[in-house]
Symmetry: C2
Subunit: 111 residues, 2 copies
Amino acid sequence: MGVTKTDLFTKEQNELAILAKAFAHPARIAILQYLLTSNKCINGDLVNELGLAQATISQHLRELKNVGIIQGSIDGASMSYCINPEKWENVQQLFNGMFDEIQNCRPGECC
Amino acid sequence: MGVTKTDLFTKEQNELAILAKAFAHPARIAILQYLLTSNKCINGDLVNELGLAQATISQHLRELKNVGIIQGSIDGASMSYCINPEKWENVQQLFNGMFDEIQNCRPGECC
DNA sequence: TCGTTTTATCGTATTTTTACGATGATTATT
DNA sequence: AATAATCATCGTAAAAATACGATAAAACGA
């Protein structure tokens, strides 16, 4: 018990869920918003920006990197992260593909 | 430990995370897609459609209802659920508000 | 009224997520 | 070379999420 039954669902449904999970924590939203507005790539000064431990930030960064929406590059002793623009647009389209399905829903037949 | 530190983040960041969490399971994506395409509201025949127990479906439905993206109405002995169109559009705009911030990101200064 | 259908909720087992200290690896600085 | 700075990973504790059987509540039909 307690295990998500991945095989019951379509590939798209699982992918959407995995991507949504990446957004499903305020710290990761904050990291992404910081990356979006900082323009240039940043490193672990996220530790100062957010009030979380270095290990925790690193863990969140890894999860965002695992799903591909951010990417990292070595910059001396530090590490630079930034949004992956292609993936970002891909994710937006995937979500909007779902959001836009509401147009097939006729209001009169809804509750 | 193990508790999300909600007070560290903005209201918007927390709200986005909560909404994303609602989408962060393939069963809930499947439920939403079913509701989107079924046009008229449906009830617990989701139990047949997905391969999950009745209690599990009910639990997922409650989570979707708690964040307001679906709503339920009593229909005799059964229960009809449907998307809440206003909330749906609100959620789409909130996500796109974040997605669109990528436009401030200048490619040359990214890694 | 009695039995059936339908759904929500409770209780609970299992897994996953979240958080952080400690450690080690790598690079920069002195 | 020695020290400092930076970051990933390990180990682990605590909490949340996931799933389902069992049960209760509400509505319908015979």
